[in-house]
């Protein structure tokens, strides 16, 4: 049996299993809290796994392994930003947000402000960030299937994108947050198992001598010791000072963006209490941290055992380094059959990864459309639970269809920058609005609206006029040149601009309510009046023992 057939079979098993779970979860999805927040009935450990599932996209699994395989240390540097970022979420955002919000990021922002302008801004930003991220994943899915399953025709790739899109729509429309969370959990377990297996085989091959592996990787790469140091990809000496500032700009966006990503933020609502939200971030940090350590071995392993030339021959960006390594190390240890099986397993895990992440993004954007824009902006809150969930389902369908269409149109384009752009927008617009809302007494509607639009617009404008869109060989439009901003990553300018816009906006407006600030401050820190988990049976969720956990007692509101 070829590895393509085996991969397809394994992937279909994953699809069948997750669809089964989704339909099972849909029987328990009755109201808006179920659809948007999985009934708030997941345990900290479950949600921690789901956080890992939502966060470890194909870009981080295949992308970072590929960057390490081709450019060495710089890929590791990239992954560290993704990890440290979680401390911002843990210390400043997760618990306070769980205590004061309900379904979306905007719930926290609109708490003490005029709801319509703030929700409009937050909705626009949520949908923009999610669509960018979604598009990068969809295009990646098309490219990946070409490489791993041997589908090379444009029609075949388009069909793959349609398939991925239809599945993600089904997960979200049918299963809501419950179904999507289970898809993330299954995926996280598969991804961690697959990555651990290959890592152990690689380390075993080198007699668990990390130094030996690094030395071999450096020699095979043909770049020697430079391969084990920063500077082959980001901020190369040839790029001079601009390149190095670009490196810092990227680092800032990665480390500050995570706590502003809408599909990550809504994860904090799926647990019954702020304490479980804390626990889920702790688990998430553990899983994500271990995962990037595994990726380090996978990347250097691929450089040593597959070699840069062979990787580039299959994909210029190195996205197939991890699956190729699986094949090589399987072959070296178990022979040809072992290589085929391992390649098939890792390829199937990669598809599962893409599928889970796109489902999470679709859910975040459709929730924001239905809850923020439709229910609160268009209908001014006069809408039933049932109607809101129906709109959320319809918008998941529409957003999914749009993502499929754009994904097919953008096929073959270099859209990898969209992931970094999504982080930059989240760090520049969403994060300042969230932090000011939670911690700054004088913050108000004008401040929130200017922070979000200021951050969003400045990040977008700077990227449009940067070398990733025009004026360079690797740009989206390589033949045009309208670039005047020298950096590929806007963060170092747009993040301070977002914070500044929020500050100035708030200062220019006289709106201020001491009572409202007291309310959000007290609620966010103490959990008074926090949204409760739904009363019906949790889906394999937290064991609730009445009386032992004070936060679960019926609210007096």
């Amino acid at each position: 049996m070829s590895h393509q057939t085996l991969s397809t079979i394994l992937f279909l098993l994953f699809v069948a299993g997750t669809l089964g779970i989704t339909f099972w979860a849909s029987r328990n999805t009755k109201d808006a809290t179920d659809f948007y927040a999985g009934g708030r009935s997941f345990s900290g450990v479950q949600n921690g796994l789901a956080i890992g599932g939502d966060y470890m996209s194909a870009a981080s699994f295949l992308g970072i392994a590929g960057i390490i395989a081709l450019s060495g240390y710089d890929g590791f540097l990239y992954s560290i930003g993704f990890l440290v970022a979680w401390l911002v979420a843990l210390l400043l955002v997760a618990e306070l947000m769980r205590n004061s919000g309900k379904f979306t990021m905007a719930d926290v922002l609109a708490f003490r402000m005029s709801p319509r302008p703030v929700r409009t801004a937050a909705g626009v930003s949520t949908i923009t960030v999610s669509i960018f991220y979604l598009l990068a994943q969809m295009v990646g899915a098309g490219a990946l299937v070409g490489l791993l399953l041997g589908v090379t025709s444009p029609a075949g790739k388009a069909l793959t994108i349609v398939g991925v899109g239809v599945l993600m729509i089904v997960y979200v429309v049918v299963g809501g947050m419950k179904g999507t969370t289970w898809v993330q959990i299954v995926k996280a377990v598969l991804l961690m198992s697959g990555a651990t297996l290959v890592t152990l085989l690689v380390l075993g091959h080198y007699g668990f001598n990390l130094s030996g592996l690094l030395g071999d990787a450096a020699t095979q790469s043909g770049k020697g010791d430079a391969f084990l140091n920063a500077g082959l990809k980001y901020g190369t000496e040839a790029q001079g000072i601009a390149g190095k500032i670009d490196l810092i700009s990227l680092g800032l966006a990665l480390v500050l963006g995570t706590a502003g990503l809408p599909h990550i933020l809504i994860r904090f609502y799926t647990v019954p209490t702020a304490r479980e939200a804390r626990k889920s971030v702790l688990w998430g940090i553990g899983i994500i941290g271990v995962f990037y350590l595994l990726t380090l071995v996978l990347g250097f392993g691929a450089a040593a055992l597959v070699g840069g030339d062979a990787i580039v021959a299959q994909d210029k960006a190195g996205n197939t380094a991890a699956p190729m390594l699986a094949e090589a190390v399987g072959k070296a240890i178990f022979g040809d059959v072992g290589g085929t099986i391992l390649l098939a397993v890792i390829a199937a895990v990669a598809f599962a990864t893409i599928l889970a992440v796109v489902a999470g993004l679709t859910l975040a954007s459709s929730s924001s459309f239905a809850h923020d824009l439709y229910a609160h902006v268009f209908k001014r809150g006069n809408v039933t639970d049932k109607e809101e969930v129906l709109v959320a389902r319809i918008s998941a369908f529409v957003i999914g269809a749009v993502a499929i269409g754009l994904g097919i149109l953008a096929q073959g384009q270099n859209v990898a920058f969209l992931v970094a752009l999504a982080f930059a927008v989240a760090a520049s617009g969403n994060l300042p609005a969230i932090l000011y809302s939670l911690f700054w007494k004088r913050f108000n509607t004008a401040g929130a609206v200017s922070a979000i639009y200021g951050g969003l617009v400045s990040a977008l404008v700077l990227v449009v006029f940067s070398p990733v869109v025009s004026g360079s060989a690797t740009a989206l439009f390589p033949d045009a040149n309208f670039a005047w901003f020298p950096l590929s990553n806007p963060g170092i300018v747009s993040i301070p601009l977002g914070f500044l816009a929020g500050f100035v906006g708030a200062r220019l407006s006289k709106e201020y309510s001491a009572g409202k600030y007291a309310e959000i401050e007290v609620r966010s820190l103490t959990g008074i009046g926090a949204e409760q988990a739904t009363s019906h049976q949790p889906v394999g969720g937290v064991q609730r023992q009445p009386g032992t956990d004070p936060e679960l007692e019926p609210s007096t509101d």
């Binding site: 930003g81 990890l83 401390l87 719930d107 401050e521 959990g527 009046g529 007096t556």
Partner: protein, 109 residues
């Protein structure tokens, strides 16, 4: 938002209370400096990766160089801060928050 029906003066009363001020002080005194510290530590790492490549390339043990150790230390510090925060929150924040919440729920009944 169920608590909207509350008179916001209830919250102002809690906010002005000594216990809440202590909770807020404890939280901010831990979380804010720690955030500044880990962001600074991370930026130091990125800046050194850009401008001190000779230093980062110094080999320490076999092929393991300062850059790799520095990177791995970022993992260690992230895990360590996360663990320390959860210990701190369980001991110093949760009991106080529970107390305030129980008192408040008594009041609004």
């Amino acid at each position: 938002m169920t608590a909207r029906q509350h008179d916001s003066s209830v919250y102002e009363e809690i906010q002005a209370g000594e216990q809440f001020q202590e909770l807020k002080r404890r939280f901010r005194a831990w979380a804010f400096p720690m955030t500044a510290a880990f962001l600074g530590w991370y930026l130091l790492y990125v800046v050194l990766s850009g401008w001190a490549r000779d230093f980062m390339g110094t080999k320490v043990l076999g092929n393991i160089n300062v850059a790799l150790i520095f990177g791995l230390l970022q993992f260690v510090s992230t895990f360590g801060i996360a663990w320390a925060y959860s210990r701190f929150a369980e001991k110093k924040l949760d009991p106080l928050a529970d107390e305030i919440r129980h008192q408040a729920e008594g009041k609004t009944e």
